[in-house]
């Protein structure tokens, strides 16, 4: 189904960056401020600006080149594969029209691929455009694992769709989504993806595509249903089992992480009360005033550190876990599709065997079916390996990140407490000497 609310006049009416509207939870608006005026960070590594194949990158667009540069420096995770397509999602903006309010994101592309007319693109897309892309990919590449999008619907009232935190979390998920496609040897060459990245007017293309789809639909769609698979090959059965187990573990980790965040918030509530009691006490003392104020200050510092940790955990850690739940779902869907294709083949083969037991030849459509199964299996296996590899890297990053955040929190607390000890001890030594 196509999106009903096609965006009208994207750049025209009431374009407003989201930081124009103050968010109830936060007074600072630094995070999302687009920074075209800031000095470009690309100066730190001028030599890295060339792509692997030596084509110089046009640096005339400073706002995008810095994030792409970071990408170039950080991503060495594509084992030996030369990368020639870089995509980034950034700069969310809020659009308010009489009809609706929505967020668009800037999608920047840099490439040396000949499929693209230009080496660089910068377009604005909204969530439903990403959703359109994903549907298109699912339709046109049924044998491949399509990375997940963040969930469209959020509970109204519970989550503020236009809050900086929400938008930033979504931006990161959308960025990840496009990067996964861009890194994929097949999906990255998909025509719809190309259009999504480069089209000035995606809407007219979408309408055009709708008409086309109705014609092509039948041939593209594999979904036939009705057939029952006799037995999954061991290899794929093992994948299914793995996914079930993995989902279960993800669920547990998600619950633990949520529980920790809850415990930490409750701890924070008490800690915030704890510090001021020392201040109250300090007010009643003369000689003890300073040490007691010192403790109060330390507790306050620890509160800040803990707050940051909890925030990081709920904004960085949990969304990645949830994305993986969706990723697993996508993978399960592909497995299911594969099963159906195999089931169809088996059924046809059986029918042929039943009708023409005496004849040895197999009809061509059954052979086609077999080819399809084999293609599917090959694609799926390749995607599976790729997925496993991604997963390993993502979780390595996620978990070391979690450890880092905890270390940072402890280091801040440590610094606070260490700073007051010498103060107190010096005082005491000095006093001891004068005595």
């Amino acid at each position: 189904t196509m999106s009903a609310g096609t965006p009208k006049s994207l750049p025209s009416s009431g374009q407003k960056s989201i930081h124009d509207i103050s968010h109830p939870l936060s007074s600072e608006d630094t995070i999302l401020t687009p920074s075209p005026d800031l000095p470009n960070t690309s100066s730190i590594g001028e030599k890295d600006l060339s792509l692997p194949n030596g084509t110089p990158v046009d640096t005339s667009s400073p706002a995008s080149s810095s994030s792409l540069l970071n990408r170039l420096q950080l991503d060495d995770d594509l084992d030996g594969e030369t990368r020639d397509l870089f995509v980034a999602v950034d700069d969310p903006k809020k659009h308010v029209s009489t009809m609706e309010t929505y967020i668009t994101y800037r999608v920047t592309t840099k490439t040396t691929r000949t499929e693209f007319d230009l080496p660089e693109y910068s377009v604005r897309r909204r969530y439903q455009d990403f959703d359109w892309l994903r549907n298109k990919l699912e339709e046109s590449q049924p044998t491949h694992l399509i990375p997940p999008l963040p969930e469209k619907f959020v509970m109204k009232g519970v989550v503020d769709r236009f809050s900086e935190e929400f938008v930033e979390t979504r931006r990161r998920a959308l960025d990840k989504f496009l990067r996964r496609i861009a890194d994929h040897p097949v999906l990255s060459f998909n025509e719809h993806f190309n259009v999504f990245l480069s089209a000035k007017d995606l809407n007219s293309y979408k309408k055009q595509g709708m008409a086309l789809l109705t014609k092509m639909g039948e041939s593209v769609k594999y979904v036939t249903g009705g057939y029952k698979l006799r037995g999954r090959p061991l290899e794929f059965a093992a994948m299914g089992d793995y996914l079930d187990m993995f989902t279960q573990k993800l669920g547990t980790i998600d619950r633990i992480a949520q529980r920790i965040i809850k415990e930490q918030s409750e701890y924070l509530v008490e800690l915030r009360e704890y510090g001021p009691v020392y201040s109250t006490w300090a007010a009643a003392e003369t000689e003890l005033q300073e040490p007691l104020e010192g403790v109060s200050g330390c507790v306050a510092n620890c509160c800040t550190a803990l707050e940051e940790l909890t925030e990081d955990m709920s904004e960085d850690f949990l969304p990645v876990l949830r994305e993986y739940v969706l990723y697993v779902e996508s993978m399960k869907n592909v497995l299911k599709k594969r099963d159906q294709v195999q089931a169809e083949y088996e059924a046809k083969l059986e029918a042929v065997a039943f009708r023409k037991e005496e004849r040895t030849g197999v009809p061509t459509d059954v052979e086609k079916c077999q080819d399809r199964v084999e293609c599917f299996n090959a694609d799926l296996k390749a995607d599976w390996d790729r997925w496993q590899n991604n997963k390993r890297q993502d979780f390595r990053q996620l978990l070391t990140g979690m450890a880092d955040k905890n270390i940072q929190c402890y280091e801040k607390c440590l610094a606070a407490w260490e700073s007051i000890v010498p103060l107190l001890q010096d005082k005491q030594d000095a006093k001891g000497e004068t005595n």
Binding site: Y267, V269, V277, G294, V295, C298, D404
Partner: protein
């Protein structure tokens, strides 16, 4: 508060000598004892050197007992016995060990003398000290029942952790008394630590109970001091504040401890899930598995952290109870002052009566005045006799005012001496407690950094 009837003495003789302390308890005595000595040794003890000379004080030397004697409460033991109404009860006894210091310095190192006492006996000793030395901030006993504990810690009186903390608290009490220039010279206190039997009879012989009761009655009677001493009013106000802020602090601290416990323990779940997850992974398996162990260690580490913190809470608790002792000194000052004011008032009224009688004017309306008006004047003889009695009473009253005055002055002098000593001790102790609290927090942070660094290493190998 009523003081409970004295409980029966536990059978000490047999068990006491039998358990006269194994090597383990000696070692414990050595380190816990010397620690406490060091802390108290820091406080300035020479301030109130001169004064005392009370009935029960030993006046031979002015150095506190602790300089002459090593004291410790080295062991606790559970006993069962019959109480006053012949019911079976379980209680805890504590082993007090004493050793003269000079024998140790002479290198003889003799086995300490030891005896068992139960908590109620410590209470009796403290009550006796309170009554006998009203102008002294008498060191408090550790709490009778566990309060302000975070919920994972048992509040049961028989809980080994509680008994152990109380043992430390009781030892601390003895050391504080023994290092006090006045209290340490009390004979009853000395007997408490050295005389197994008959100690309690000695206490009752001092008649302190009667004194305590009459004082208590006076305290309960509503009285208002006309000219309160500003210094004592302020001190009373301070002790109220101290009590309220420390109890608030202890309450919040217990909740903070509860939550911290939760945060750490929930991390333990990562240990399990990482281990399970590692079973279905190839390359990631080893890293996850060992990271899981670090998470287990992290969850377990909170037990030690909070146990150590409980010691800090106990230090604060001591001062919570000290605030009550300070208030007691203020109250007793009020009582002394009140008695003085009553004596002055009495004298004034006697003088007024004499004046009335001498001049024949009746300034106050009284039944007596009425009757004299109605039934005529008294005979001169009668008046003379009355006047004479009044003169005697006035003399007596003047004497009483004088003695009350000097009693009051003496009280104020002594009390301030001890309050100054107390303040100094308090500042020193609490400063040290805060430092050690900060050190504790530092070690907790370092442990946290260590565990997460280890875990990070495992994660990065995945």
């Amino acid at each position: 508060k009523k003081s409970p009837p004295p409980p029966p003495l536990p059978k000490l003789g047999k068990v006491g000598s039998k358990c006269a302390c194994g090597l383990g308890s000696r070692e414990r005595m050595a380190d816990s004892g010397s620690d406490e000595v060091a802390v108290i040794g820091n406080t300035d003890l020479t301030a109130a050197e001169e004064q005392n000379n009370r009935n029960n004080t030993d006046v031979e030397k002015s150095t506190p007992l602790l300089k002459k004697m090593e004291i410790s409460v080295s062991e606790a033991e559970k006993r069962t016995g019959k109480n006053a109404v012949n019911m079976q009860e379980t209680y805890t006894v504590y082993l007090i060990e004493t050793r003269p210091v000079d024998t140790i310095t002479e290198g003889q190192n003799p086995a300490p003398d030891s005896l068992w006492r139960r908590y109620s006996e410590f209470e009796l000793l403290r009550n006796y000290l309170l009554v006998t030395y009203p102008y002294i901030v008498v060191p408090p006993l550790p709490e009778k029942r566990a309060e302000f504990v975070w919920h994972k810690l048992s509040a049961d009186n028989m809980d080994p952790d509680f008994v152990e903390r109380r043992r430390i608290g009781l030892e601390n009490f003895l050391l504080r008394v023994a290092s006090h220039t006045v209290l340490s010279k009390d004979k009853i206190f000395f007997l408490f630590m050295t005389q197994e039997n008959g100690w309690k009879d000695m206490v009752y012989e001092t008649g302190f109970q009667a004194k305590a009761d009459s004082r208590l009655k006076a305290l309960n009677a509503t009285f208002r001091v006309k000219n309160p001493d500003k210094r004592f009013t302020e001190l009373k106000h301070y002790s109220d504040e101290l009590q309220s802020v420390i109890s608030q602090l202890l309450r919040v601290r217990a909740r903070v401890a509860d939550r911290l416990y939760g945060v750490y323990k929930v991390h333990g779940n990562y240990g399990r899930v990482f281990s399970e997850w590692s079973a279905i992974e190839r390359e990631m398996g080893d890293g996850l598995q060992s990271a899981g162990h670090h998470m287990d260690a992290y969850a377990a580490s909170v037990d030690d952290i909070l146990e150590e913190e409980e010691h800090y809470a106990d230090q604060l608790k001591e001062y919570l109870f000290y605030s009550e002792a300070v208030r007691a000194v203020c109250r007793k000052h009020e009582l002394t002052q009140y008695e003085l004011e009553m004596a002055v008032q009495d004298l004034t009224s006697k003088k007024l009566q004499r004046e009335e009688l001498a001049t024949g004017t009746v300034r106050t309306f009284s039944l007596k005045g009425m009757t004299s008006k109605l039934f005529g004047q008294e005979t001169p003889e009668q008046r003379e006799a009355k006047l004479k009695v009044l003169e005697e009473q006035i003399l007596e009253g003047e004497e009483s005012v004088k003695s009350k005055n000097s009693e009051c002055d003496e009280y104020v002098k002594n009390a301030w001496l001890d309050i100054d000593r107390f303040k100094e001790q308090k500042n020193q102790d609490l400063k040290e407690a805060i430092i050690s609290y900060a050190v504790m927090q530092i070690s907790m942070c370092k442990k946290g950094i260590q565990v997460w660094t280890n875990a990070k290493e495992c994660f990065s190998k995945m």
